[in-house]
């Protein structure tokens, strides 16, 4: 099956947040209970962060330009569906897998809500629902895709900021769009997700460097995750097996020996035995 991708062109996004609503509707996600700190914090962003029942949000990046006018940058945030996915690497229960079409699929029955994926994701995307004890994230509407439909957010996007299709096609579109933007004077326009983490299945067209949109410039699987899975786990298992085998060996070797300490009636000198 060909790899699919969602293309997010932030230069066309008006932050209408229709995608957020469509996502909630299709996935039947209830509203998040507003946190105590939900009071107005000076931003027009709807939610402070992704949440167990909020798979996507439009993040607002606000700054003033030279003329003291507020400039907005919007970015639709959600799972990047990485090829080298840290969440898959650290998921002990194999609840997260990479499908042939590129989707990072979460099997909710296998998930035990340990939160390893949430901590190790370079984008901090998965969130653990404390009530259901399951980690959640964007599914890329795998169920819709399987039925030849586009993801709910893409279908609802009125400005054409979201697109969906075969990954190579989306990349072509992204490159063409970046060329156009650069010709129009957006010198820093770039593609994000083409090569990052082995190539992601969510691709961005950004008008500025990734950091300006809250994205890491060079996202990596955490070193600790690699050390843990590739070295820590097998070394730990080897230490346990070796100690168990050695103890068992000593047990059978010694079990019939008469090694019990005996009284020698000496004055604290060296004693012999075991």
């Amino acid at each position: 099956m060909a790899q699919v991708a969602k293309l997010i062109d932030v230069t066309k996004c008006t932050a209408c947040r229709g995608c957020q609503v469509a996502c909630k509707q299709w996935n039947e996600l209830p509203v998040e209970a507003p946190p105590k700190e939900m009071a107005f914090t000076g931003t027009l962003q709807s939610h402070p962060d992704l949440a167990p029942n909020t798979f996507t949000i439009i993040q607002f990046f606000e700054e003033k330009d030279d003329t003291n006018t507020v400039k907005y940058r919007f970015r639709k945030t959600g799972c990047m569906h990485c090829t080298d996915a840290a969440c898959i690497l650290v998921c002990e229960k194999k609840a997260l897998t990479k499908l042939e079409n590129g989707i990072v699929y979460r099997d909710k029955d296998k998930c035990i809500g340990c939160g390893y994926c949430a901590q190790n994701c370079p984008f901090q995307v998965p969130k653990v629902n404390p009530k259901t004890e399951k980690a959640t994230k964007c599914t890329l509407c795998g169920d819709r895709i399987a039925n030849k439909m586009k993801p709910a957010c893409v279908t609802t996007c009125i400005t054409g900021a979201l697109d969906f299709g075969p990954r190579d096609e989306m990349l072509k579109k992204a490159k063409k769009r970046v060329e156009t933007l650069q010709k129009q004077g957006v010198a820093n326009a770039n593609i994000y997700g083409e090569k990052e983490l082995g190539g992601t299945n969510v691709i961005y067209v950004l008008a500025d460097k990734p950091e300006a949109y809250g994205l890491p410039a060079d996202p990596q699987i955490p070193l600790t995750a690699t050390l843990w899975q590739q070295y820590g786990k097998p070394i730990g298992a080897a230490v346990f097996c070796a100690s168990f085998a050695t103890t068992l060996f000593a047990f059978f070797l010694n079990r019939k020996k008469d090694l019990a300490p005996k009284l020698h009636h000496h004055e604290g000198g060296k004693s012999h035995g075991v």
């Binding site: 340990c114 901590q119 600790t224 843990w228 820590g232 730990g236 100690s243 019990a260 075991v274």
Partner: protein, 223 residues
Amino acid sequence: MAYSDNDRFPRFGKAARVVHFTHLISFFVLFFTGMSLYFNFLSPLNLLFGGASSAKLIHRIAACIFFFGPILGICLNPKGFFLVIREITHWRKEDFQFIVTFLHKFFGQPHEVAPQGYLNGGQKLNVYLLGFGFLGLSITGFVLWFPQYVPISFALWCYPLHSLLAPCLTAAVLGHGYLGSFHPGSGASWEAIWGGTLSRAFAEHHHARWAQEVDSQLGRTRR
């Protein structure tokens, strides 16, 4: 007081013994729930605990007992704790001689035992292994439980450390448990942690210097 071959040597008080066994039980509960949660192929073990969710809850309850048990023990008997601290920070030549012959002892080979104090060289090493294992596993475990309260870079290190420390501590516990309970040469030390006292034969063999001290304190003189 007259010296007798049947003399007992007071070793551990009631608090230490209760804490030891509470700690031991919590360790095994942590071990089995941890294994069932950590290794995918051991997932069926979760059924013993009522599913993954209950296993996780039991793991956390056991973790609290594992961590706070010894702290309660220290509060109940601070004198005993400081005695152990004093012992493990004072190393004598004989302690190293004991450690050098450890493998001979473990595999039941004849060897000489240098006169040892309240804790022999092997036990001193064991206190370090179990102590640091206990602290390391507890700290990393609580971080895994509450990662939101620490910097993410620190939390990320706790995952590999917890999964490496757990089998290392288990290895130390296996050796400790075998030597202290089933080894024909030292298994009699079980009497100390179960009943609180050691026999003269065992005390003089494994802790000759300490046995002399106790005899002299209790005025037990040879006939």
